[in-house]
Structure formats: structure tokens, C-alpha cells
Symmetry: C2
Subunit: 406 residues, 2 copies
Amino acid sequence: MYRPQNLRIPGPTFVPQTVLSASARPMINHRGPEFAALLAALTRALQDFLRTQGDVLLLTASGSGGMEAAIANTLSSGDKVLVFINGAFGERFFSICKAYGVDARRIDVPLGRAVEPDLVRDELAKEKGKDAAKAVLLQHNETSTGVLNPLKEIAEVVRESGKLLIVDSVSGAGSVELMVDEWGVDVLISASQKAWGAPPGVAMVTMSEKAWKAYERSNLPKLYFDLQSYKAYLEKGATPATPAVSVVIALQESLRLMAEEGLDAILRRHRDLARATRRGLQAVNLTLFADEAHASPAVTAFRPPTRVDARNLIRVLRDDYDTIVAGGQGKLDGQLVRVGHMGFVTMTDMVAFFSSLELALRDFNQPVEPGQAIAAALRAYAEATAQPARPGAKVAPRIDTVGSRR
Amino acid sequence: MYRPQNLRIPGPTFVPQTVLSASARPMINHRGPEFAALLAALTRALQDFLRTQGDVLLLTASGSGGMEAAIANTLSSGDKVLVFINGAFGERFFSICKAYGVDARRIDVPLGRAVEPDLVRDELAKEKGKDAAKAVLLQHNETSTGVLNPLKEIAEVVRESGKLLIVDSVSGAGSVELMVDEWGVDVLISASQKAWGAPPGVAMVTMSEKAWKAYERSNLPKLYFDLQSYKAYLEKGATPATPAVSVVIALQESLRLMAEEGLDAILRRHRDLARATRRGLQAVNLTLFADEAHASPAVTAFRPPTRVDARNLIRVLRDDYDTIVAGGQGKLDGQLVRVGHMGFVTMTDMVAFFSSLELALRDFNQPVEPGQAIAAALRAYAEATAQPARPGAKVAPRIDTVGSRR
């Protein structure tokens, strides 16, 4: 039986049909003129989306590989850095620092809460003198908890301190406002399979002038992840080693779809769908995990009903309702369900998610009326997207449909 | 106009239609049961092809990433190693060692010649005592010159020495005989876009028991490339970071095609097509670069005619005849043309290559008769693949056709 899945994990995200088809184009020479043109166009498009005139380098790696490249290219063994941790990916930054002999001081923030600019200011105030921290590392969007850190405000604080700012925006970029140059982010990492809606395999890393100065001083070992070599090859229209050609081609097509929609519309859609998702979950008495003030536009984490193991709920959603969501990571395993709404996602996808969730909750004997979550989600979405009334016309919610797109 | 390319570079290789289609399947959860089953099946298939019971780990990276992983996981800073270099990829091994502070002694072999077992024996004889080299690094198939090093015999010599043997078989595995366990190769690297005929993005790394013991002592920094973490996740049916899902799915399909043909038939096909290619090139007075005794079954390098720059010949082949070949790397740039015949390649593909080459050579005023190279190549192929005569039947050459496969 044909059972299409509603892929609602926070990455890899749903990949549209035209992007899948692009990834299946005949293989080409990665050292030829077609690939050079593709790489140049892709780099320009990413610079536009990330609001940077600086370098954007494409690595054949997952986002974690990009995070490691960011550290290996700008820090040295024994360098002191501050790592703000409010989830599994903050832990990952810390682990990479440890693996490379970087002296990372961890500042833990309770899971579900954001890294506040005041906390960053206070911690930076302690970092004066000769052995002060050289860099600040944190997540833009912490995928493991569904928390969006207020990067703009944090970046302002870090900029004043003169320290290097290294940001994991693997699941942030493309789903929420981000101005790499204006905010002063020195190194930013994203990855193809998140809001970009392409298959996994390509990580993007931006480098500011200040980051390149740090590169000159960096003594950490790297060759595959040597960003200067990526920059030198990019100028010749190539990559140092063989790139994931089919993923790069797919990414170009997904960026084309994104450009068609426009970045502002994309960000509004993410914000509105995220809010609709939260209202739908609350309508069936589920507890949101993240602080509402810092709720992610890309992914929402919630607790399962009392006495229900999140793993069981996730399994029923998958096996009986073809709806694929994620669980908690690390110490949150079994305690959280995470539903992704980043990339090429529409209200219809979220309605489908809620229909599955309502049925699954009933299977767990929860008091849920059919349509209860859906109605609340649709109401929130309709309010958010309401158009100014035209004379003689009722205000109509703008519900995106999947239409011919897939 | 529809102008299909004859992709004859030594990787990425031609990807068959069913493999391309597989890569365009809807995205799936990289932490779900489907991916776990896929990863397990793929790992078993690769173990079969590589003739190993040991671990085969799949990284989201190019072959160069796999080479770096091999070094970072088994060596320590200051370790002495021997790197045998007969081309650009030997240089890469040396560069990685240098980047990681491994004390590599380079043994250079003239380009176009093989690393001979006696040379390895002689060099190993110098490595006695406390500060002796711990490992030997070399290429199985040196893609940059089209030389196949006699790995079986070299491995025997290295095995006697007790040293660790790290082999780049990025373009060797799947195109030529290789018995990882029987020969005693401790770490072997390959990559999806070579003889495996899948898109680039996945590197494979094998690890012997002895390699794991070396891992325990290794102090080089790694997290993204930490192979123990790949092994631990593999046991749970996953990878530590998000894998290149679509490339992994494609690779499964290409391995299915390969299993259908059978490894012996695949290796015979590579051997026969390589020989046919050499004879075709010689028939139009082109000079082969590699020592015939160690000519690669995967790629053939040749010199352009006197007073013709290889870059120009390559450009004419591409622009006028849609035939994509590679040039020389490093100091051989402009001096070599390299034609790939690895992966899903048939005699028909090579006939198409020679038809383009003959026409291009005429464009450079070379005295070439139409059919001259093709006839010689076909003759060599027919001789190699001749079937025993049946009563009443003439001996017929077995010329593969592309048929419905693409």
C-alpha cells in the first residue's frame, strides 16, 4: 500500500519533488564549467539569504562537521572560550572544543530556556586580562529543545566585547531573521537538510574578516576542513575535494523555490506555523517545553501526556499514522516529542500532523475530540495571516495548500 | 539541444538511471527503522565486496575526508610513519600527516611507476628500534597517474613487519581485486563516487582489530571523524551526525546492480576495458603514462600528441564532442589526459569515447583515420572476452551494450 510519510522531524526536512528531481540529474564533472557556475550562483544566493558579503563555504559534511570546521579554523589549543549551553548542540560545541584541546568554559542554561543577553554580558564581564576568553560559542536555534536564542541582542553584547562570535545556526538560518554582517556574526554554520529543504550532505560556513584573522593564528590541525583551501578553490569555481554534487544541485533548486517565495514571506510562514503548532498542542492539553517568549519558529518540543512515554507516542504516530516526529535527545530521551515545521512546510502539513496526533492521543485514552487541536491551530494561523478586509469580502484565512508542488 | 555527456573522468563516475532515481526517493528519518535497515544491509554488502568481516564505517565526506579519518583515528602526534608517494593522492596522505603533526617520512616513486614490494621491504628494513615507523601509508590505485600498486604483495611485506597498513583505495575498491582481511589491510578508504557508481558524499573506512588497538592509543583530535562513535551508532542502526541520506540510498541501489553482475565479472570487465583503452590509445600513437605492468583497471593516463596542450584537447573533447575527461594534477597539469573506465562502464562507452577522441585528434591535425582507435580497442576487447567456440558457431566477441540500463 502507498503510505506517504509526513516527515515532521527537525531535519532532514521534507524535500519537495522538484528538489528531489534536481538531485537525480545526471552526474557532472565537479571540476568543469557547469559545476563552477553552479557553485558561484549558489554561493551568491546563500550570501543573500544569510545577509552577508563575506565568504560562504560549502563543505561535504553534516552540520556537525561545519561546527568542527568553525572551531578548527579559528581557535588554537589552549585558547579559552565561552560555550553557552542550552541543549544537545551546545553540548556538541563543548565536546568539539574538548576534543581539540580548546579550554572551553561552559555556561549552562536550564533546558527549555534561552541564553539571555544579560547572562552573556555578565559572563563576558568576567573575561578580562591576558587569559580572557577569545570567543563565544552558542546556538542560534537549539534544535534539541525548540528554543530560539535572541541572537541579535547577544551578538550586540559580544561585538562590544571584541570577542569572536561563533554561531551554530544549523536549524536557524532560513527559518528566522538572521543578518550575519549587520549583527556581527563571525562564523555561522548551517546545513542543507534543515530550513533549506535539500537532502543532507552539505554544510555551509560563513567567515568574517575577523574570523580570517583568527584563522591566521589558529594552530588546530585540519586539512579536509581547512576553510582557506575552500576559499582558494571557490575562486577557481571548485572545492578542494570532491563535493556532494547531487546535494549541491538539489540545494540550488531549493534556493530557487525559496527565492520565489521571498525571504520575508518564508520567515512569516515559519513564525505563523510555529505559533499555530503551539496553540494546537495546548488545545489538547500538551505542555510546551520551551519558554514561549523564546519558542523556535523551526521546531516545537512538547511533553507527552502524563503516564505516556514519549517513545511510545512517537512509535504509534509513525507505525499507525505515518507521521514521523523526533524524541528528546540525551537526558530528555523519553520525555519529549519534537515536531519540526521548518523548510518547505505548509499549514496543510501541520493539519495532517494534528489529525494524526489527535488519533494517536485517543489510542492512549486521552480525552481528545476529533478536530480539537486542528481547530485551535487553524484559528491561530487564520488570525496571524488575516488579510485586511476588502469591501464586501469577509476576512479569509490564507491557508497554503500543497497544490501541484509535490 | 539534448547533448548527453559521456562522463569519463575518474570520478564522479557515470551514475545509472536507477541509481539516480533511488537518490531522488522521498526523504526519510535518519534515526528511524528504515534507515537502520538500509545502513545494516549496506554495511553487509560492502563487507562482502571488500572481503572483510571487520568494520566498515560510512562517513558523510569525500574520499579525502576518509583519508583524514584514517590518520586521525590510528596515529598520534609525533608518530613516525612511511608514506609511499607515486602521485597526487600520496601527496595528500603526506599533507594530512603534516597537518596533524605526524612525523611522515616520504618515499617518492617516479610518477607513472608503481610502488614495488621490494622498495617497501628495503624501506621497512631501515625502520627498526624504538623510534621506528608505526605505519605504512599508500595508494592502492593512484588516480592521478593511472597506476595500480601491487597491494597484495606490498601488504604481505608490511604484514611481516607488524606495522599498521593504511590504504587509500578510493578509486581501487570495486574495480580491482581486493581482499581486506586476507591481505591484512588495517584501514582502507573508498568513496561512493568511484567504482561504486553512486553520487559523491559518502566515504567508507574499514578498521581491523589492529587498527582499533591503534585507535586506543591515538591522541589526534577528532569528533566528526571519530570512528569509534560511528561504530557505536552503527550498532544502533544510525550515524553520529546526520548522514547524506540520499547518497546512502543511491549507494544501496548501485550495490544491488553490482551484486547482480557479480564481483568477478565486474573485475574482469574493468581489466578488459582498461586493456582495450590502452590498445586504442596506442593505435593513434598516443603515449601511455603508466608502466604497462602496473596499469590501472580504473583510469588510463596518456600524453597528448607532441605540441598539443592537454588542456586544449580536453576542452575540445568537452565543448565539441560532449566527452568529459580529466587532466593531469599538480605538476602534471597540461601534460596528461586521464580517461576513466571505472564503475558502470561498458565497451560501448569506450567506443563513444574513442569516436570523440578520433574526431578531436583530427581537429588538431593529427593523422588519424576514422575507426583506427575504435578498431584496435574492439579487437583487444574481443580477444580478452572471447568465448570458447561452440560447434558450428564462430567465436563471437561479447560486446556489452547499454541496453535498457540507462
